[in-house]
Symmetry: C3
């Protein structure tokens, strides 16, 4: 593994899952691999779970990690080729990235979409410039359109809850949920991409009309605009809001009630409920689900560490 930017970089996903679950029971089983190596974690946008879990994963492998919150620590990067930098941006990515490549062995980067310029966001302009100019392996800590560490975590979590003798594929449902802010599509895109690449699920996506995701990621999944119908017999329900991809970055008013509660779970196969967090309680998901026995959300967030540790190990082996 050279970079970790999407499911396309994952190699054999089952192997990654297996490695992650091994680390879950043996966190320090490879604690000298990273000795003398250093990972830089550059956040252009804030983070809690991703920052903490990646730092911990690196430490478990014996690496040093250094966090740099660019937005808070006062660094506005320029990404435009040929820019005359007489405005507010202080440093061009072409100058900053190679330095980070000199200071670190691996670079983790979090960027967010503009939610205004779809073409630019979906070209992953910012992420790809870091990859192009830093000269070291890059791990996406969430990018404009994808969140691969979250999705690997999700596959790990689903895998942990499959029966040992798993003869039929589980029904995995990704459902849109309401939110008060316009959020990126990245977690949903990425989940779709990974479940498709994993291949061990009957994968269904449900969202209101106007919220269909980019087919580049969803192709292979069944898309249903009626949530009640989609929930039927689901084994896993992944809840997530996203803003519109078609009417890019917009919130489209929705008449139906898309908030998931226990009533809606009744037609499922006693489904496990998942969410990447942070979650808006009683907007996306009801208290009764979050505080009840069907939620595996805390376990899911805990698995972030093992996903990151599996990925960093793969990259360290090639550094």
């Amino acid at each position: 593994m050279k970079n970790f930017l999407s499911a396309n970089d994952a190699g054999n996903i089952d192997d990654l899952v297996h490695t992650a679950l091994h680390f879950k029971t043996n966190p320090f089983s490879n604690s000298s691999l990273g000795k003398g190596k250093r990972i830089g974690l550059l956040f252009l946008n804030p983070s809690m779970r991703t920052r903490l879990s990646t730092q911990i994963a690196a430490q478990n492998l014996g690496m040093e990690s250094i966090v740099f919150n660019a937005s808070q620590e006062g660094w506005a990067f320029e990404f435009e080729e040929g820019a005359v930098m007489n405005g507010t941006t202080a440093e061009h990515i072409k100058d900053a990235a190679p330095i980070l490549g000199k200071y670190f062995d691996i670079l983790g980067i979090r960027t967010f979409p503009t939610l205004k310029d779809r073409e630019s966001d979906y070209a992953e302009k910012v992420l790809h410039q870091f990859v192009k100019y830093c000269g070291i392996p890059v791990i996406s800590l969430e990018s404009a359109t994808l969140h691969p560490l979250q999705s690997l975590t999700d596959i790990i979590t689903i895998s942990s809850h499959l029966p040992v003798e798993n003869k039929t594929k589980p029904k995995v449902l990704l459902t849109w949920a309401p939110h008060v802010k316009a959020l990126p599509q990245c977690v949903a895109n990425s989940f779709a991409q990974w479940v498709n690449a994993w291949g061990h699920a009957n994968f269904v996506i449900t969202n209101p009309a106007g919220y269909d995701l980019d087919e580049k990621f969803t192709s292979g999944a069944e898309i249903i605009h009626n949530q009640d119908e989609a929930l039927k017999d689901a084994d896993f329900v992944y809840v997530k809001n996203w803003s519109s991809y078609q009417d890019y970055g917009k919130i489209i008013n929705v008449d139906d009630n898309w908030l998931l509660d226990n009533k809606k779970l009744e037609t499922t196969n006693d489904a496990k409920v998942m969410h990447c967090l942070p979650v808006r309680r009683n907007v996306e998901l009801s208290d009764e689900i979050l505080d009840g026995g069907n939620s595996i959300i805390t376990e899911e967030a805990g698995n972030r560490v093992w996903a990151a540790q599996a990925v960093i190990q793969e990259i360290l082996r090639n550094v």
Copy 2:
């Protein structure tokens, strides 16, 4: 020791003091105890001494520490049960705390009071929700009403300055001091609670009328509203401002001069002067005291490390 939230969690205070003073001369004497363990330090409010001293204490015990400044790193927590989160709070404590419990072995938390809702502040609503939901030992890095690491530090510092043959109890005076801002009562409450629990002092508190602290913490101390009278024969003078507990969170105008200077020290028993810092020079304490031989304030702040190290060691032994 399971949690460290107040003097009630301290067990035998003399033993803790003894342990801390041992670490002061042997910082690395137990440096492998924390190997493979991790402490998360979550600051809902800014900190300098507490953050640095706790990080250092954890490092001395061989632990990894990770700091998370929630207010700066953009995380507004929701604490209300049943909240419909369609406003500005991004994540409920019920969802965030268990994750921190999965990532860390010990959680340190700093919270501040509202200074508006006394009942809520004195119920330590925020701190107790972290304790309830995180599932791991919690160390208070200052809470709405108490600051136990500071108070243990203060007892350590006083202990260091007692004569070896200590036949009579020293007179320890806590005196209110002026300030330009409305400050919490937590340092004063906590000092009172700890000196009372410690039991080796004649303990007096002096403050202007209207500034009496909660009897829950001060009970056992003599309270005198005349500073001059209170200072007489004091061996230790602990200087601290706090806002009113009765007229909750307010600054009440005070006619007398409560600023401590050398003139006022004349009637003491050449008292050692203490303060938790930061101090407003020439508002709370005069330059001449801060720069003179009676101040043991720098030593006191240095002892923060050893207090934290003693506490973390006690908790690690039970993790």
Copy 3:
């Protein structure tokens, strides 16, 4: 070496360069020297390269490092002797510095000039108070008027590019460049001080009228106000903007074009181009230079680590 605040603290610069270049090929060759030692990195102003490179240098020597961003983490320091602190400053340097001296073995500090009060800035009031009151060795991470870690880096970088059989001194040119903001003079002052102290260059400075630097640092260099003339036969061109020293902190309008591009390099001796970064592309330096073969700027920034590591090692040997 006790402190590292300017070229005056460097001792034999050639020896420091030699040590740094040794670390460049053997980063971990002295990785137990700093065991059990701790460096505090206090930033009163933001930093990327300095923060990262100094942390890495300390880690390479086996030290723990703790970063404290004072401006973000909410601490406004008071520097005036005798101040009655009833305003916005929360803590006097006289109280804060000694505590840092208790917590750390070495203190790194970044401060910036006011660019308003030249006398105060050039007295390095802030830095010197830290030195005076903290009681431990201090490393300047950039101060009001100097940036010695950058300048040592620059000498290391120039040294690396000298022919082995170096019979004649290289011509080193420091040229002023345009910028949109009023920047400190510190990088330029410091470069001048170090090149003069190093003594192995024919040193020329070119800047528009009104931008002459303090003679305290430049004395010994030839100063030319015509950039074209100055560039002739240069072996190294160091590009940097600074605000006026004479009309202190001001930006003086300049008629000529001082932006360095390939055309201007033609009369040089195929000069290597240097810059401390961050650089405003197409304002200070053209894209064609930054992206071309004459730039050694990325290498220069990478050398920050080895400069810091050589300095920290020297100080650790005396701690």
